[in-house]
């Protein structure tokens, strides 16, 4: 058996999605963004909607999301992605419009835009990467940072009296009449990745069917910011993050 036998199409068990291009990713090894990007590209391709998809990129580590997935993109100012997505979705009602946002972008500076877009029931999907830290700016506290967690701006750990509580924005969004689907997923095991993929696909379908706002929160790791190895990060996430941010659907209409 030589190489040509091995690469026969019938032997292929895995391939990179066509919409995920060959640009070098700037993400740290072990980061969850790479996996989620691949899922987004794969789902758009599988659904055959690449020609009518517009993504809205945030400010944060995924600011360059537009460099990796070959669909049309608009780069938002920090926190404003849902406002931009609102406009595009209303002006192109047949398009698939999604935002890709981190915790600082979505749940701190952009809280108003997030809540009001969701409350209006805009027919968009919000992909929310919750790694409890500001990765891009060097590991500062995020609204979702856990109590006691050390960050560059909570060097002795997050304290309630100084910093308040971690914000469970997913739970808030699930309360709003405008959302049709709010789910919390992770991508730290193959099984979790499969579930996350199904969740994003469902969300995209909801948007195409104009059922309201869908939110897929992906509880993620930031091994650089957390100062742990990728493996330790996954373990830490399961042990600490999942307690505060439990997996599963918060709303599914």
């Amino acid at each position: 058996m030589d190489i040509n036998d091995i690469i026969k199409p019938e032997n292929q068990v895995y391939k990179k999605p066509a919409l995920l291009n060959d640009n070098y990713m700037h993400y740290c090894p072990g980061c969850s963004h790479g996996v989620v990007h691949k899922l987004v590209a794969e789902i758009i391709e599988e659904m055959g909607v690449g020609e009518k998809t517009v993504g809205v990129a945030p400010v944060g580590c995924s600011v360059f999301a537009y460099n990796y997935i070959d669909v049309d993109w608009i780069e938002a100012a920090h926190g404003r992605a849902p406002a931009i997505a609102t406009a595009v979705s209303r002006l192109y009602p047949k398009n698939l419009v999604f935002t890709y946002q981190g915790d600082g972008d979505l749940a701190a500076i952009g809280t108003a835009e997030t809540i009001h877009a969701a409350n209006r029931g805009e027919n968009i999907t919000i992909i929310f990467i919750n790694n409890a830290i500001y990765g891009m700016t060097g590991g500062q506290m995020a609204p979702t940072t856990l109590l006691g967690m050390k960050t560059a701006t909570t060097p002795y750990g997050r304290r309630v009296d100084l910093n308040g509580y971690p914000l469970k924005i997913g739970d808030i969004l699930a309360q709003l009449d405008g959302t049709c689907y709010v789910t919390r997923q992770s991508v730290h095991t193959p099984a979790a990745v499969r579930k996350a993929k199904a969740a994003i696909k469902k969300a995209f379908q909801n948007s195409l069917d104009r059922k309201g706002t869908s939110v897929v929160e992906i509880v993620s790791t930031c091994n650089s910011g957390w100062k742990l190895t990728p493996e330790q990060s996954n373990k830490w996430m399961v042990e600490h993050m999942f307690e505060k941010y439990p997996m599963g659907d918060l709303k599914n209409l």
């Binding site: 608009i74 406002a83 002006l91």
Partner: protein
Amino acid sequence: MEKEIRLMKGNEALAMAAIRYGADAYFGYPITPQSEVLETLMAEQPWETTGMVVLQAESEVSSINMVYGAAAAGKVVLTSSSSPGISLMCEGLSYIAASELPALVINVMRGGPGLGTIQPSQADYFQATKGGGHGDYHFIVLAPSSVQEMCDFVGLGWDLAFKYRTPAMILADGVVGQMMEKVVLPPQRPRHTDEEVRQRCPWAAMGRTPDRGRNVVTSLELDSAKMEVNNERFQATYRQIEANEVRFETYGTEDCDYLIVAFGSIARISQKAVELARKEGIKIGIIRPITLWPFPHDEVKRLASKSKGVLVVELNAGQMIEDVRLAVNGTVKVEHYGRLGGIVPTPDEILDAFKEKIYQK
């Protein structure tokens, strides 16, 4: 088609003009003295006729980012607000300018700073013409002085914005916003189809077709060398606009001994002062910059050079006077008369100020 003449407030004319000039979308947030724009649009329900989207956003911050999104998708879009709201929009305006997107923003100015007053003002001249947001950018600033111009500049603003791929602003004041006058409305311009948008805005993020790569609308460029090139491109556009798009109007400048420079409603109040002065045998002319950026430096310089003195009249503490002085460059006396806090001077007050500051018996 019969010419359609209406009696309308300036703010209502803005709304009707937006529909007539084929707007795809309006996003805004209520603030006095321009809430009639959103109110009129909501009452007109253009989504039933032209398909125009009208949305009351949760804030001015959100409004301007909706504008950014619509503009990035190649659509004809506008927002309107008043001074404090425009301050909130400055972040978004900087992004829109840096992303080289066409959009129309209307500021019906009120007295500031801070929450200030809802009465008329022109104190946002600096903010409009010198930036407001961060970075080296400009946008075209049109200053209407009548309700008809409120209407016409909506169309002109979009034409210029799309021609140069830059935001344009209508900088009005509470007088022009609240006043009613006769307006000739333009005939209905059809909205562009998606296919037309694809043709005229090949850069628009609206879903990629197989014949092109992905379109990315962004102002981000971390490579300084490339960012400098981007900036040089913006500046080249600004020089082109300065060369081609200066607009102004003059009154009584053929035989004048003195010059008044004023914009917006104050130019009209000054014109009345000039009418009164001429009855006393004092010959004053007026130049009214219509584009505040690009500023009519050359014409102001030319007219000032044959005058014995120049009075700049504004509803602020002295903003446009800086551009007038730059143009005049010390060759003639240039003085300022302004009222603050939302007070609008009457024609005789302007004439008195002229006599006190400029007139040589």
